[in-house]
Amino acid sequence: MKTRRSLESLTMHVGEGESFGFLGPNGAGKSTTLKLLMGIIFPTSGSARILGKPISDVEMHKDIGYLPEQPYFYDYLTAAELLDYFARFFGFTAVEREERVARMLKKVGLETAGKIQLRKYSKGMLQRVGLAQAILHDPKVVILDEPMSGLDPIGRHEVRDIILELKREGKTVLFSTHILTDAEMLCDKVGVIVGGKLQGVGRPGEIVGMKPSGMEILFEVDESDSRSGALRAKAARSGSGFALRVPEDSVYAALEELRAADAKIVSVAQIKPTLEEYFMHLVEKDRAQAAAIEVYGK
C-alpha cells in the first residue's frame, strides 16, 4: 500500500490585503495546507513565510488569526472566559482584554450567550466563537478553515459581512471552502485544489478562462399565443417564464422575434461558464487520473 501524499509541491502566493479563497472538494488538501501554515503539522519538504517571517516564528502569530475546521473548545469555559484566556497570550492588560472580549462577542452575535458554558453551544455558535477568537487581537492576516460550515443562511450572511469588513480594514484573508458561490462573492483571488494539487490560481473570472458562450434571454409570454411557439420550443422553462439561449450575434434577432410575439422581456445576460463548471471539470480530470494510476499500478 502506497502512502498517499496529501499535498503535491504546492506553491502559491497571497498578496497583502488580498482575500484568497481556497477551493476544492473535501479531502483535497485545503485544511492540510492551512494546518501546515499554522505549524500544526510539518511539511516533508519546503518552506513558507507569513508577513515575511518563517512559519516557525511563533511571535509572528501575534499578527495572524486562525479558525480551525469544525472548531471545538474547552467546554467547561464560557465564551467570554475562552476569549479572555486566548487574549492573555497577546499581552493585553486586563482592561483591554475585557473590552476586546465584549466587542468580539457583539461582533459575532454572541453577546447574550457570553456567560453560557461552551458545552451548551450549538455548532453554529461554536463557529462564531471560533471566528471571534481568530480576530480578537486584530491580526493582519486571518486564516479561516471552512468558516461557513455549520451556519444557517443568516449566520453565513453575517460571516460574509464580517469577512467583507475585514477586507475593508485592509486585512489579508485566506479561507478555505467548498462552497463556490462564497468564493466567487468574497475573493479577489481563488486557488483550486483537487487531489492534493493546486490546479489553478487567479481571479475568479480569469480562472475559468472566460469567454462568454452566448446570451440568455428570460421572458414571459402568454402561452396560449401561438406566435411565440417556436421560440418557446427552443427555450427552457424558468420560473413562471422561459429562458432562451442564443449565440451572441443572434441576440437582436431573437429579441425582435419575441417583441413581435408580445413577449415580456425579463432580462438579457451573458452566459459565463461558472466556477462550478470549471471545478467539476477539474474534479473529473483528477478522478480519471487516479483511476488510470490504479490500473497501471496494480
Partner: protein, 297 residues
C-alpha cells in the same frame, strides 16, 4: 525539518547532564536515608497475619522481598550496623509468617538472633521461637534441630536441652548419623572446646549461606587460637621453671629452645606475650579485634 537540530542538541545535553545530576543526588539521599533508620515495615510488621492476608498469593514473593532486606542489612557485604539489629526479628518473623517454608530465614535467624550483640541480636529466646516455628512447618528438615541444639549449647549453656535437640533431630528420616553422636558427646563432654569445634565445623560444612559460614569460621579460628594460647601458656610455665623468670617476649621462648619458630594465629599474626605474662593475640591482627565480640568456648 530545520527545527530538528536545536531540539536534538537540547536532548543530548540535558539527558546525560540530568542523569549525572541524579546520580550524585541519589548518593546524597542514600546517606541521608541511612541516618533515618528506615524500617517502613515496622508499622505493618506488628500484624503479620494481616500482612499475610493482604499479600494473598503473593505472600511468598513478599517474603522474599523482606528476606532480601535481611540479606542487605546483615549480609557479609552489607553494612551491619548496631541500629539495624532491632529490625532483624520483625523482618525474620514477617518473612517466615509470609512464607513458612523459607528455610534460609530460619537458619539465619538461629545464628544471628542468638549471638550476643554486636554480632547478633542477643536474643536466644527469639531464636528458639523462630526455629520451633521452622520445625513445626518443616518437620522433615532435620538441620533445624541442629540449629536448635546449637542455640541451647552456645547461647544458653543448656547442654541437656541441646543434646535433646540433637536426639530429636537424629530421629528424623534422612538425618545424618553424626546427629546421634553429637547428642551423646554434648551430654558427656559438653562445654569443651573440642565439642564446640565439632559443632561449628558441622555448621560450616553444611551451610550454604555465606554469612553463616563466615560466622562459623570465625568461631573456629578463635577456638584454634584458644588452643594455641593454652599451649603457649604451658610453654611459658616451662620456661619459668627452667630459667627462673617469666619471659616477656616470644623471642625468649625461641632462644630458650622451647619453640622452633615464631608461632602465629591462623591468619598469620604472631602471638605475643602480654603484660599479664600470658600469651595473647597480636593486637594488629583481625582476630584480636573480633575476640571480644564473640562469646566462645
Amino acid at each position: 525539518m530545520n527545527n530538528w537540530k536545536p531540539v536534538a542538541i537540547l536532548l543530548l545535553l540535558v539527558l546525560p547532564g540530568g542523569f549525572a545530576g541524579i546520580w550524585r543526588v541519589q548518593h546524597g539521599i542514600d546517606g541521608q536515608l541511612q541516618k533515618i533508620h528506615e524500617e517502613q515495615d515496622e508499622v505493618l510488621l506488628r500484624s503479620n497475619k494481616m500482612m499475610k492476608t493482604l499479600s494473598l498469593e503473593y505472600a511468598p514473593l513478599m517474603a522474599d522481598v523482606y528476606w532480601t532486606r535481611v540479606v542487605q542489612y546483615y549480609g557479609s557485604k552489607g553494612e551491619r550496623r548496631e541500629q539495624n539489629l532491632d529490625s532483624l526479628w520483625p523482618l525474620l518473623d514477617l518473612s517466615t509468617t509470609l512464607d513458612p517454608n523459607l528455610i534460609p530465614a530460619y537458619r539465619f535467624g538461629s545464628t544471628f538472633l542468638a549471638e550476643a550483640r554486636p554480632v547478633g541480636l542477643g536474643r536466644p529466646d527469639l531464636a528458639i521461637e523462630l526455629i520451633r516455628r521452622g520445625i513445626r512447618e518443616n518437620p522433615e528438615y532435620w538441620r533445624l534441630y541442629q540449629d536448635l541444639g546449637n542455640i541451647y549449647y552456645f547461647s544458653l549453656h543448656d547442654n541437656e536441652k541441646a543434646s535433646q535437640a540433637y536426639v530429636d533431630g537424629s530421629n528424623v528420616p534422612g538425618a545424618a548419623p553424626w546427629m546421634k553422636l553429637m547428642a551423646a558427646r554434648i551430654v558427656e563432654r559438653g562445654d569443651t572446646r573440642q565439642t564446640s569445634r565439632l559443632l561449628w565445623s558441622e555448621l560450616y560444612e553444611s551451610s550454604k549461606d555465606q554469612t553463616i559460614k563466615e560466622n562459623a569460621k570465625t568461631h573456629l579460628l578463635l577456638l584454634k587460637t584458644d588452643d594455641d594460647i593454652e599451649q603457649l601458656n604451658l610453654l611459658i610455665a616451662e620456661f619459668q621453671k627452667k630459667y627462673g623468670h617469666a619471659p616477656t617476649q616470644m623471642r625468649e621462648l625461641v632462644e630458650g629452645r622451647l619453640l622452633r619458630g615464631f608461632p602465629a594465629d591462623p591468619e598469620g599474626f604472631a602471638y605475643v606475650i602480654g603484660k599479664s605474662g600470658k600469651a595473647e593475640l597480636n593486637p594488629n591482627g583481625r582476630l584480636f579485634k573480633l575476640e571480644p565480640l564473640y562469646r566462645r568456648f
